[in-house]
């Protein structure tokens, strides 16, 4: 078979991504049709910037999902094919068998693996970790930031001091201190996971309790049900057979997060939480002077009800915008970790590790490093544009 020209490569990549295009078009058609009924999400489709950003983000989300479902990936991202080392994009596969995809669309990397498949598989890692880690950071930041802003005083001083302490740390030094194998051996990241991941439980518990406090017949079963399920998930998440934190027996353990991923996850949540804390605290300080808060206080509502059901919903605009920006920032942090070879295993196809591997040969071969770099750039750019669009639309009303 002949090597492909650039036009053919692009056409083939385009065709390979067919599931993503179909999903994107469907999503946009449905959303634009019903945009008046969809609240803030629908309004996003009034702003060009927001739409471009949303399209970029959803492109990577769909590519990640379909990549994980094995609809897009052409080769095994970890398989090394002899004779394909550092080959340029469009090189036909040496000794291709029947039913195998015949080309390395974006060339082969230094270990003769398919760059295209690695970028697609790497998207799934980012699309999974970044939003979830950001959500956890928000839970921690909100649960601590609301009382700090609302009560003020000693609690606020103490929590703000802690937050500033973490913020004064250079992020990379923190990563180096937390994500080395020696530290993982001591179990510190596992203990930190135990501490940080309990915040969603606290958050949801207080949220539901403060809302249905007056209807104990409804509240008690609800709390038992919700917290039971979340508690089980929590224990499955943190507990791992053979690690330092091993609280529930193996057969009850629903899933295991590979050790490297959990450490990366914890450190990213840890780095993000103080910033979220500061934002939430600032918003709470501002909103607690409003009349509706005074009205709720006069009505005799409890402090947690006021924080979670009066202040928090009114702070949602800036928080949603920051959430988008922060997913982008988390993506950058994940890339940084990969770039320094921390946490994730070296053969992992995530974008940071791939860039790190590719950069060593950058003066001769461009194709292993550039695709993941551009992928990361476009995803973060999409998130920033989306945040911009959301900000504009939420300011409009």
């Amino acid at each position: 078979m002949d090597p492909l020209s650039w036009g053919e490569i692009l056409t083939r990549i385009f065709l390979q991504l067919t599931p993503t295009w179909i999903a994107l078009v469907l999503l946009f058609v449905v959303s634009v049709m019903f945009k008046r009924k969809l609240g803030l999400y629908g309004k996003l489709f009034d702003s060009t910037v927001g739409m471009i950003g949303f399209a970029l983000v959803m492109f990577w989300v769909f590519t990640g999902i379909f990549g994980a479902l094995d609809l897009i990936v052409t080769h095994d991202p970890l398989a090394q094919v002899s004779g394909m080392k550092n080959k340029v994009p469009g090189t036909p596969l040496a000794g291709a068998e029947e039913g195998e995809y015949g080309w390395y669309l974006l060339g082969g990397d230094n270990l003769a693996r398919d760059v295209f498949s690695r970028v697609i598989t790497g998207a799934w890692i980012v699309v999974q970790i970044a939003p979830i880690a950001t959500a956890f950071a928000f839970m921690v930041g909100i649960t601590l930031g609301l009382p700090a802003g609302y009560y003020g005083g000693k609690l606020d001083t103490f929590l703000s001091f802690l937050a500033n302490l973490i913020l004064a740390f250079p992020v990379i030094l923190l990563f180096y201190l937390l994500v080395t194998p020696e530290i993982v051996e001591t179990g510190i990241p596992a203990y930190m996971a135990t501490f940080l991941f309990v915040f969603p439980l606290i958050f949801v518990g207080i949220l539901l309790n403060s809302r249905y406090y007056t209807q104990p017949n409804f509240r008690t079963p609800l709390l038992i049900g919700v917290l039971g399920v979340m508690g089980w998930l929590y224990l499955s998440l943190i507990s791992e057979v053979g690690s330092k934190v091993h609280v529930i027996p193996g057969f009850m353990d629903l899933f295991d997060i590979p050790g490297g991923i959990l450490v990366v996850f914890v450190s990213v949540v840890f780095v993000n939480s103080p910033t979220v804390f500061r934002i939430v605290r600032g918003l709470a300080l501002d909103i607690k002077t409003r009349d509706y808060v005074a009205a709720a206080q006069t009505r005799g509502e409890g402090p947690w009800y006021i924080m979670l059901w009066e202040i928090l919903p009114n702070a949602r605009g800036p928080l949603i915008v920051d959430f988008c920006l922060r997913i982008g920032y988390t993506t950058i942090l994940l890339g940084t970790l990969g770039f320094f070879g921390l946490g994730l295993p070296p053969e992992s196809p995530d974008w940071g590790s791939t860039i790190n591997e590719g950069r060593k040969f950058l003066s001769i071969y461009l194709h292993p490093a550039l695709p993941p770099a551009l992928a990361l750039l476009s995803l973060v750019l999409g998130l920033n544009l989306l945040a911009d669009g959301l900000r504009e639309e939420s300011l409009r009303d």
Partner: protein
């Protein structure tokens, strides 16, 4: 104002102590010490040999004691070998034990001895910091003026085509972390694959003699990431100022548009970016680490990576002390500067 600065200084010292203690704790965990012993001695040490090595070095004392020694408030550990010679933290190689001081720590100006570079930490940190200082100087000279110009141009006519274009540029640069922009810049301007070869892909030679060819790419890479953020802040603040009453008055009075921007708007619009620029320092530190690794420029960030990768405890502590001081001092300057620039805020 004096009281405000004094209180901030107190908080700063407390923060510094907490952070160094944290670094100290993490680097002194037993697995880390074991790794240190093995890299210092040899990799096939048995467990007993490791613990005797650590015992001699005083690494097995309780943590607060070790921290006190490092700080210089407790007399340092000494160990008498079987042949009667005395070894200890304060005794430099070749120095007589009797002449060595009892206390040697940060307070006495002794930063420790690096196990990787086989040099005194203070010397390494000073030398590397000077190199990074050179890098930062050029980054600032490139980043701040271009960011301010970008922001002011975009913000003076909000919603115009210029504004849209420049804002998109600014967003794109904030979305490009250093390891992405660095890779792209090297690929385009320095690789033989594209063939432009305008600049060099490494900055190792820039450590002695920096010139445009070997120094521009690293400077540009760091500057790009910070530039977008400062430009967006400037734009927002400029746009806000341009809607103010006194600008409208000036317009109605018939002042020309360039004059309004230069004489009336600019000064007020630059208050917010000033704070942002100061708060950018900690972020730049991150960028410095990435860029120095990428371009192999052996400055402060590169030292951090080396120290952290090899668990060089005292060098790592020295590096963190310096970086924490940089962060806290810039925060202080930004607060004080904000108060001075903005007449609407007073501290007491």
């Amino acid at each position: 104002m004096g009281l405000f600065i004094l209180r901030r200084l107190g908080v700063m010292i407390l923060t510094g102590l907490c952070l160094t203690f944290l670094v100290f704790t993490l680097t002194n965990l037993y697995p880390n010490l074991e790794k240190l012993a093995k890299t210092q001695g040899n990799f096939r040490m048995s467990d007993e040999e490791v613990s005797s090595f650590l015992e001699k070095g005083g690494y097995l004392q309780p943590l607060p004691v070790k921290y006190g020694e490092w700080l210089g408030v407790l007399p340092s550990h000494r160990y008498t070998n079987e042949d009667g010679s005395v070894q200890g933290r304060c005794i430099l190689p070749g120095q007589d034990a009797a002449e060595a001081p009892n206390f040697c720590g940060i307070l006495q100006g002794y930063w420790g001895f690096s196990t990787v570079f086989k040099e005194e930490v203070a010397g390494i940190v000073g030398k590397r910091l000077a190199l990074t200082g050179k890098l930062m100087l050029w980054v600032m000279l490139l980043m701040v003026p271009s960011a301010l110009i970008l922001g002011v141009l975009a913000g003076m006519r909000e919603g115009s085509a210029t504004d849209r274009t420049l804002s998109t540029v600014a967003i794109t640069t904030t979305a490009t972390p250093e390891y992405v922009s660095g890779v792209i810049l090297i690929a385009v301007f320095a690789s033989s694959a594209v063939g432009l070869k305008w600049f060099k892909g490494t900055a190792t030679s820039a450590m002695e003699s920096a010139n445009f060819e070997n120094f521009f790419l690293p400077v540009l890479t760091i500057a790009l990431y910070g530039m977008g953020y400062i430009a967006r802040m400037t734009r927002a603040s400029m746009a806000e100022v341009m809607t103010a009453q006194y600008i409208r008055t000036a317009r109605l009075k018939g002042v020309s548009f360039p004059n309004i921007v230069m004489k009336h708007a600019l000064r007020n619009a630059l208050i917010a970016p000033f704070t942002v620029i100061m708060l950018q320092f900690p972020w730049l530190l991150n960028g410095v680490v990435i860029v120095e690794t990428l371009f192999n420029y052996k400055g402060f960030g590169w030292t951090l990576v080396q120290a952290a990768g090899n668990n060089d405890i005292e060098l790592l502590l020295g590096v963190s002390v310096v970086s924490v001081i940089v962060v806290l001092v810039t925060q202080l300057i930004s607060d004080i500067g904000y108060v001075y620039l903005n007449p609407r805020i007073s501290v007491s």
